[in-house]
Symmetry: C2
Subunit: 401 residues, 2 copies
């Protein structure tokens, strides 16, 4: 091997044969076979007239799924964090103040992005594992008068669903703040109504309740929010994610900006078609029913949910780790013995919770029973005080089996 | 339809059936069936131990393809422009000066990204359709003493291959400037030796000579370049593309940063395996041979190449539009009658050239003959003074047929 070319014999890197996992963690979720098939479709060019029709379809399907009529509804060319940065990096101008929550991992990420955009960050506090209180938000808005208010609708790090969204957005609008919602783990899985709830900007990831491989990530902006973007005094700090430039490609002009991730657009189109076929409200109901069975099962087994029912997040179930059990060992054993992915906690809840997803194509009866069976078995083997049989029975009963 | 959910009946959006194009434009190129098949592989999680092996494979294969031993060699989670912004946005700090070229579209994009990163931009001039002259680069370096020097190895907008790369990098290093090379249209298609040529940072796109759908894009940095990134006084302005954070995921720690585009990583792994199986030097030779036949054919037909042989870019052939012919009409007719994509010129060469790619899996004899046949036919039908028969014959002869 000559210098400059790596040290490994690359001819020894064999065919791609990843293990056959069941994905019940915080995402990605299992991908529907129709979406996988769509990804093996040969490409057309990103400026091909036929691709422009495909783009239109995706935009329309995203509007349906977000429950919005927003014209500025697009898939961003990257994973969920790219859509998040597109939202924050364009809406927050140097000198703007953004109000962010402290009750989970993703509020912290919002803060980091807002600072990098040149903004000042102020916080509204709530503990990890709790939602924001509307009164606290109203107080923070009154105190700081922020330009932008961000909140996380479905906190993947804590399994908490933020209730009272219309109350939060109304309070923000009373102070003329633009509202950005993180809907990564809610879109397509739990009730989300962008227009009716007064959300100005929402971003999401495709690999959670839409069960689409990460690569093109949903973003929607109201006309007012886009007006703020288009009237910025200074260009956004990212060229790649500059919505005033992306407007040229996704708007009427269809002018070249960057090469779109064509296959990822194919994939999200098919994933969103599955949403439309099922019906968005039926899909929300399915997640609640399936995750409800999971919850009934883990509780019957003798485990405890971290979130009270009032803000339980069906798509991401935070289950408390039993006394004396190492969460990492459990996850490893589930992966190795059952090819099953669930996840540990993060941040303030590190070591305290398991995070069990119930998302999109993964939200199926067989997966729910499989998780209850495998988790019960592994915990029992480690000496936890659980009754796996009761868990599975309760799960089956909740599923009507 | 209730308010907030789009105006179209989404149930009428049918199965994905894009036309069956032959892609001989500036990218994307035709994707090898093995890569399409890899994209339909079910997902594992982005923190799964098996995915970490896959990441290692991709890094090793990228090193092979870039001809580098750089440890910091990764696929960036986005299309080529994301890798470009990762390079420029991390290397250019506020107050830094970046020297960029003016001889094509992508020098302008470099300038825009550098400014957004907080840098000052100075230019080294050459006309569109010409390479940079080493003397001009040396003069500009002496005059401006920039911190970063960017150049485009293979200009997709003009079909120009930059010769004398080691001379340019040596001059830059004499002035302690970090060299960033745009290798989007050269990687895997024309000779490129990152280490031997003294390139500090190179970024690329997967959808050109690697024939991989856009989604995860090659980037490599030398230890010295990474040292500059890691010793920044201010964080990079993008969280998503912050290499000091990505280091945690792609380095030894394998810590969560953002959800990697798993399927795109599968795809680039397979595309790079095809590179390694063919052999990188053999692949460069194939591009030269196939594009040589294309060039012989268009010249024999009576058309003129825009670039002289000394800096002809095999992967992107700029062919002058014959007098009196509208380039856009030609492209449209090729697409509609032949399902064949080639492209028009951009910027200073708008209306003057066709851009005909010969990249990766598209660089096959049948495609070359198909382009010569179709282009000749369409031009002749529009009254251009061309001899399609001679073109095809010359192409076949050059292919040894």
């Amino acid at each position: 091997m000559t210098a400059g070319g790596g040290s490994v014999d690359v001819s020894e890197i064999g065919e791609l044969v990843p293990p056959d996992r069941t994905l019940m963690g915080p995402g990605p979720s299992d991908v529907h076979p129709r979406v996988l098939k769509a990804m093996s479709t040969p490409l057309v060019g990103h400026l091909d007239p036929s691709f422009i029709e495909i783009m239109n379809d995706v935009q329309e399907l995203l509007r349906y799924t977000f429950r919005t009529d927003n014209r500025w509804t697009i898939p961003v060319s990257g994973t969920g964090s790219a859509a998040m940065e597109a939202a924050i990096g364009n809406l927050v101008e140097p000198g703007d103040t953004m109000l962010v929550p402290t009750n989970g991992y993703f509020g912290g990420r919002m803060a980091s992005m807002a600072r990098r955009a040149g903004g000042d960050v102020v916080e509204v506090d709530a503990p990890w594992g709790e939602p924001l209180e509307p009164d606290d938000v109203a107080d923070a808005l009154a105190e700081h008068d922020p330009d932008v208010f961000g909140f996380v609708h479905a906190e993947t790090s804590t399994g908490v669903l933020q209730p009272d969204v219309p109350e939060l957005t109304a309070a923000a609008h009373d102070h003329d703040a633009v509202v950005i919602a993180d809907t990564v783990t809610s879109i397509g899985g739990v009730e989300l109504r962008v227009d009716e709830w007064g959300i100005d900007v929402a971003y999401a990831g495709p690999q959670k309740c839409l069960s689409c491989p990460p690569g093109a990530s949903p973003l929607t902006l109201s006309d007012d929010a886009m007006e703020k973007v288009l009237s910025r005094e200074e260009q956004s700090r990212s060229w790649y994610l500059d919505l005033s430039l992306l407007e040229g490609y996704w708007g009427d002009e269809r002018a070249y900006h960057h090469t779109a991730p064509i296959t990822s657009v194919y994939a999200i189109r098919e994933a969103l078609r599955l949403v439309a076929e099922e019906g968005i409200e039926q899909r929300w109901a399915r997640h609640e029913r399936l995750a409800g069975a999971l919850k009934a099962g883990v509780e019957a087994m003798g485990l405890e949910m971290n979130a009270p029912d009032a803000y339980w997040l069906p798509s991401l179930n935070a289950v408390r780790v039993p006394e004396g059990i190492d969460d990492g060992d459990v996850c490893t054993e589930l992966l190795e013995r059952y090819d099953l992915e669930i996840a540990s906690g993060l941040g303030d809840l590190d070591g305290d919770i398991f995070r069990i997803g119930c998302m999109g194509h993964s939200a199926r009866p067989e997966n729910v029973i499989y998780v209850l069976t495998a988790l019960g078995d592994v915990l029992e083997g480690m000496g936890a005080d659980v009754d796996p049989g009761r868990g599975v029975t309760a799960g089956r009963r909740a599923l009507g089996e």
